[in-house]
Point group: C2
Chain length 372, copies 2
């Protein structure tokens, strides 16, 4: 088995868990946030910087790498780790979410999804087998089953069809997966916001005995309380001895609430995307650097942060870089935001260890300006 | 005196010199290339990376900083060094070259230059006094006199008028300069491609006794052999006990030829600009990464280079990053190109020390594909 989950501790007050995921490229402490490196690079960052801020694992996108530079080239380069100079664990998604997001550019059938490239309009077809073949070429430590993610809102019939197709596709993925010794294939539970369907999907998917499971179909536009509600009844349906991954979630409140409901892994482009727009996550909430009041503000982005950006640069300088459209702006904000989220996860792990996660949440929310 | 030049050695075969420039922010070994940080940042690089590649001094642009974020803000921040987190020497240009380059957007008079901002079209006026006032606010170690740079080609009358105005402006700059203890003001010799005018300008400017001198009005479109010719008769007119700076020059051949003709300092946006276009300077000449032949080339940019980029990434990966428009591409190419030029200058200094600069030139030119 490529992937082994070790449960270290269960929180006494909440559903949170402390654990370790052992992978061929090292061990990950959970709960963890995974920075996203869509095109074989976490935007603006070097691998060394990712290590400096203690990134344990990163995520890369199968859809993008398949189109450019092509999984064959990555395989020829010796796999994704070597290609991008990252020797710690990598998780790749299946490409499913991306091709479904193409809207009019894709057509779903039982066999798979036909779509047109967002780069050059060329026609492509990804089936469950193809998604696994691509991920086998990439050589990521954790690969994801090709699922159908229902949009929000979607009616019961739509969701039922897509969760059942997801099960059939999960079986095909499992069968197609060649590198079971070096790559762990995770199953994905769908079912939208319908409790009975989450139960059905959880039952069908966990019966296939994957080394880890994701909760799919959340963070697709539904209100946060609804997402929390779905998590509350879904994670108890997932085996305790396997890691649980909530896909596409990265705002600080959702990370904490997700952990409290038993989630171990998260990923999201949020921290790096808002970074490129000059927005920082800080202990006092979001800072949007383009605001005029920061023109001559010579304090750091976050007075409580000890990251490279906050130790060396003022808001006035960061605002100047952003307004002048300088690359260093994207770098310094990306560095800070990822540092902030990884430190948040570290604090969460510490709080679970010390049995004070709810206190930590209260304190964090109050400062950040979230309502409990 | 803020700036002191120490002549260490004169080359026996050529006009090259080995020297040191002592500044309030440390000592620079010459001959040296200065990376350009136009908007208070060397594009895509951190100060730490600039130190890693042994940048001794950087250049920043007065025109740009005056317009954005404004020299008042930089002064309020504690000066340019503190604002941008760079504690080694900084040279600022006078803004003259930039405003003259605005073409239709500027009007020259004896008093100074009226121009419109390239950012928002707003009207501004820079006189010699204003150029010095701005640079006094910025607090750079070396500041430049506000000169009039004649274009190429330009007739004798135009060049004569502009060199004589440059002398009158140099006197006004000297008078306006407040921080003589902490900032060294360099004079600029004009005169285009006319020997008698270079003689006139050199005489007039050096009589004003600045702590350093630049050769202006070159690298503005004239053929390289003509630039070398002008240097050959101009540098002997410059005092031996002061540093000599050739403005706006940064291609490897011009650096070597400039040093041979007695130049100590160079700056140019070339290495970082071509970097953002995916072009590298290498020991075997230029590499343009978008070329299809690099698609599956798993060798480094430059097999003889030991920089971070060349130690860790293949051409295939760099090509992918460039084609995917990733920020890391600009970073890795900028890092390599600056490393390449700074190493070239280090090798040049070594060659002067060992009395084999002409051999070094021959070897370098042959590999790079230049004709001697």
């Amino acid at each position: 088995m490529a992937i082994k989950y070790e449960l270290i501790k269960e929180c006494k007050q909440t559903g949170a868990r402390l654990g370790k995921i052992h992978t061929p490229h090292g061990t990950i402490e959970t709960p963890i946030f995974m920075p996203v490196g869509t095109q074989a690079t976490v935007k603006s960052m070097t691998p060394e910087e990712l290590k400096e801020i203690e990134s344990q694992i990163i995520l890369s996108n199968t859809y993008h790498l398949y189109l450019r530079p092509g999984h064959d080239l990555v395989e020829k380069a010796g796999g994704l780790h070597k290609f991008m100079n990252w020797d710690r664990p990598i998780l790749t998604d299946s490409g499913g979410f991306q091709v479904f997001s193409l809207g009019d550019l894709r057509k779903i059938s039982e066999e798979g999804v036909e779509f047109r490239s967002h780069i050059d309009g060329s026609k492509h077809f990804i089936s469950p087998e193809k998604a696994i073949e691509i991920q086998n070429s990439l050589g990521s430590d954790i690969i994801m089953a090709f699922d159908e993610c229902a949009p929000y809102p979607a009616d019961r019939e739509y969701v039922k069809n897509s969760l059942e197709r997801t099960t059939r596709w999960a079986k095909r993925c499992k069968k197609a997966h060649k590198n079971t010794d070096t790559q762990g294939l995770f199953g994905i539970i769908q079912g939208g916001i319908y409790k009975d369907m989450r139960e059905q999907s959880a039952k069908e998917i966990t019966e296939l005995d994957f080394p880890g499971y994701a909760v799919g179909g959340l963070s697709v536009g539904e209100p946060k309380p609804l997402m929390y509600e779905v998590l509350e009844y879904t994670t108890p349906l997932m085996p305790k001895n396997k890691p649980r991954y909530l896909m596409g979630v990265g705002s600080p409140d959702c990370l904490i609430e997700g952990v409290i409901r038993g989630i171990d892994m998260f990923d999201c482009v949020l921290p790096t995307r808002i970074a490129r727009n000059g927005t920082a996550m800080t202990s006092q909430g979001r800072v949007t650097i383009k605001q005029a009041r920061f023109y001559d503000d010579f304090t750091p982005l976050d007075p409580e942060c000890d990251c490279y950006t906050c130790r060396n640069y003022t808001k006035a300088y960061l605002r100047h870089l952003f307004k002048a459209n300088e690359i260093l702006s994207a770098r310094l904000f990306s560095y800070h935001n990822l540092y902030f989220l990884l430190k948040l996860m570290k604090n969460i792990r510490e709080a679970i260890k010390n049995d004070n996660l709810l206190d930590y949440r209260k304190e964090f929310f109050e400062k950040y300006g979230y309502e409990l």
